[in-house]
């Protein structure tokens, strides 16, 4: 994780609220701990995923940072059973793809790619919702 900008713990409270209400999420923790609060981690129930991937709970890390005019974020899913991981990043890593990109990596098939992505909304809670819907409805069933 190497996003620039400031973390706002009030914003994390709003994002935590969204994660806690998502049906696949069993619990949400602050990482590395609830005092330092660098990012949020949602723990996913593997039994609720279709197709099922294995016994270990996947994680979804959510980090948000702000500069005066911009927001940077990473919403990243990782499956410890298969090594598959993917996520939406708004950072400076791939300017050729625009401000936001989607990236994925599948160690089983060797597939990996970075793609241009956009979100209609600016409010972090709505961006996160849209990302969660896309992840569980489109990206995971296709993996």
């Amino acid at each position: 994780m190497g996003l620039s900008g400031t973390i706002d713990s009030a914003v994390y409270e709003g994002l935590k609220d969204v994660l806690q209400r998502y049906p696949f999420v069993t619990r949400v923790t602050y990482e590395p701990d609830s005092i330092t609060k660098k990012f949020l981690r949602a723990h996913i129930d593997p039994a609720r995923l279709d197709p099922s991937i294995g016994p270990n709970p996947p994680t979804l890390d959510v980090e948000w940072r702000f500069t005066a005019d911009d927001q940077y974020y990473r919403i990243h899913y990782a499956d410890p059973n298969t090594g598959f991981n993917c996520g939406w990043h708004r950072d400076d890593d791939h300017p050729e793809l625009g401000p936001v990109h989607f990236q994925y990596e599948n160690p089983t098939t060797g597939a990996a790619d970075h793609q241009h992505a956009t979100f209609e909304n600016e409010i972090p809670t709505e961006v996160l919702w849209t990302a969660l819907d896309r992840l569980f409805e489109e990206k995971l069933p296709e993996r």
């Binding site: 709003g14 209400r21 696949f24 005092i35 409010i123 809670t125 919702w129």
Partner: protein, 171 residues
């Protein structure tokens, strides 16, 4: 459990809850109609919930020309943060977290021979090694975050006993 749980998420939050979650992220002052547009509700509904959040000290209302803007009440948010640290952690946990944050900063100061994260960033300009540039950039970002957290943890520790006394429930 429905067949398509993803579809339910927007329905599982009421309009009020959805606006409430979004409102906590209003770092830049915004109008009710901007919030309404972003959260897909009517302006009247957005306004109703935003005004409620103003009454609850979550948001502040600002008048700018003929516009009414809403943004997070940062002072109240900080007080709430201090209170939750006091309620969720022991004095020892807060003290040891504070010590480890401070010692991390001391390590960066020594390792890079700088006094501030800004000075550390300035050293990047003279470097060619991409790994070293990344390492310094990440250290500077992390340093800035810890520098933001330290005063909040310190504030929680300063009035820890006083807060615990006022937090006790008589049964």
């Amino acid at each position: 459990m429905s067949e398509d749980p993803g579809q339910d998420i927007h329905a599982s939050m009421t309009r009020g809850e959805r606006i409430r979650a979004a409102a906590r992220t209003l770092r830049t002052p915004r109008t009710a109609s901007w919030v309404a547009d972003e959260t897909d509700v009517s302006v009247k509904t957005a306004q109703k919930y935003l005004d409620q959040l103003v009454a609850d000290n979550v948001l502040r209302k600002l008048e700018q020309g003929d516009q009414t803007l809403y943004c997070v009440d940062q002072l109240m948010a900080t007080y709430r943060e201090v209170a939750s640290l006091q309620r969720e952690h022991t004095r020892e946990e807060l003290t040891s977290a504070l010590e480890s944050m401070r010692s991390e900063i001391t390590e960066w100061k020594t390792a890079y021979d700088v006094e501030t994260p800004g000075e550390l960033r300035a050293t990047i300009a003279d470097l060619d090694d991409p790994d070293e540039i990344t390492a310094r950039r990440e250290a500077a970002t992390e340093w800035e975050h810890l520098a933001d957290r330290i005063p909040i943890v310190r504030a929680a520790l300063n009035e820890y006993d006083w807060a615990s006394e006022h937090d006790s429930v008589s049964v």
